[in-house]
């Protein structure tokens, strides 16, 4: 059965057992910022990071999603997949080869049409990243975005109806409840 939940790990290193989050649904990593964990999917748009991930045992079972230009270069590598043509990329002014991997992970999560997206270690300190996150949230009103962070909570997403913020304890409780 298709899961309703998906977890996006952003560009910031996190201290949480991701294996537990996989009980809720697929987990998407953003490049190699958390390479000591195992994931279902990982997005990457630089060759250096891709090579590093191809050589990391924890990414061996993950689908590594890369932009088309990079995919053509690594087409014969097992586990490397071409990123889908995300709708609205041009209207967001996002270049998949230059944007941050966490934006690609976020777009992949909404592309997979899960109803609740958990954001862990998602960096919104950069205004561009915050704006892009909000744009994607607005464009997907039927998807709930749960921003998980350590206290103090952020109020940056409170102006959106489908944006919520909670801490890792609540996230753990949700995982425990789902088991």
């Amino acid at each position: 059965m298709k899961s309703a939940y998906i977890t996006v790990i952003g560009s910031l290193p996190i201290r949480f057992d991701i294996e537990q989050a996989r009980a809720l649904g697929p987990v998407i990593a953003s490049a190699n910022s958390n390479k000591s964990m195992s994931f279902d999917y990982a997005t990457v748009n630089t060759e250096t990071n891709l090579q590093d991930m191809l050589n990391s045992p924890n990414f061996r079972s993950a689908d590594l999603l890369v932009p088309e230009k990079l995919f053509k270069k690594y087409v014969f590598f097992d586990g490397v997949t071409c990123l889908p043509d995300f709708p609205g990329l041009k209207s967001y002014d996002i270049d998949p080869e230059k944007c941050s991997p966490q934006v690609l992970s976020l777009m992949l999560s909404v592309y997979l049409k899960q109803t609740i997206v958990f954001l862990l270690g998602y960096d919104i300190s950069n205004p561009t990243e915050l704006t892009r996150l909000k744009s994607i949230m607005i464009a997907n009103p039927n998807t709930k975005f749960m921003y998980i962070c350590d206290p103090p909570r952020t109020y940056q997403l409170d102006d959106l109806d489908n944006g919520f913020c909670d801490n890792y304890i609540k996230f753990q409780e949700l995982i425990d409840g789902a088991r």
Partner: protein, 107 residues
């Protein structure tokens, strides 16, 4: 691609030319035997008849690369086209294979 004399033959013609059918069957068996030697993971010689040649499916990209790169050993002609099944979109993406002096690149 089929051996030159078998290429672009309609089913009607093949009915009257058992010699060509025999040659095509032998060609298919030869490919299968070679793939058994080269491939480390699953592969499949497509059973669907195509006028131009035989379509091959590889589970591993590395096996596919090895097959392409070892063509001079077998003297077969390969249509320079590579399709990859995208596991996320479930779509078949097709690219052109470009031969270079040092190997192959994908366009």
């Amino acid at each position: 691609m089929w051996p030159a004399m078998c290429r672009n033959r309609s089913v009607e013609i093949l009915k009257d030319r058992p010699d060509l059918v025999d040659q095509m069957n032998k060609f298919r068996i030869k490919i299968d035997n070679v793939l058994k030697i080269i491939c480390r993971k699953h592969f499949q010689v497509d059973g669907t008849y195509m006028m131009s040649g035989v379509r091959l499916w590889f589970e591993s990209g590395q096996d596919c690369y090895d097959f392409i790169i070892r063509q001079p050993e077998f003297d077969w002609e390969i249509k320079p086209e590579l399709s990859v099944m995208n596991t996320v979109t479930s779509q078949l993406q097709t690219f052109n294979v470009v031969y270079t002096p040092t190997g192959v690149t994908i366009d």
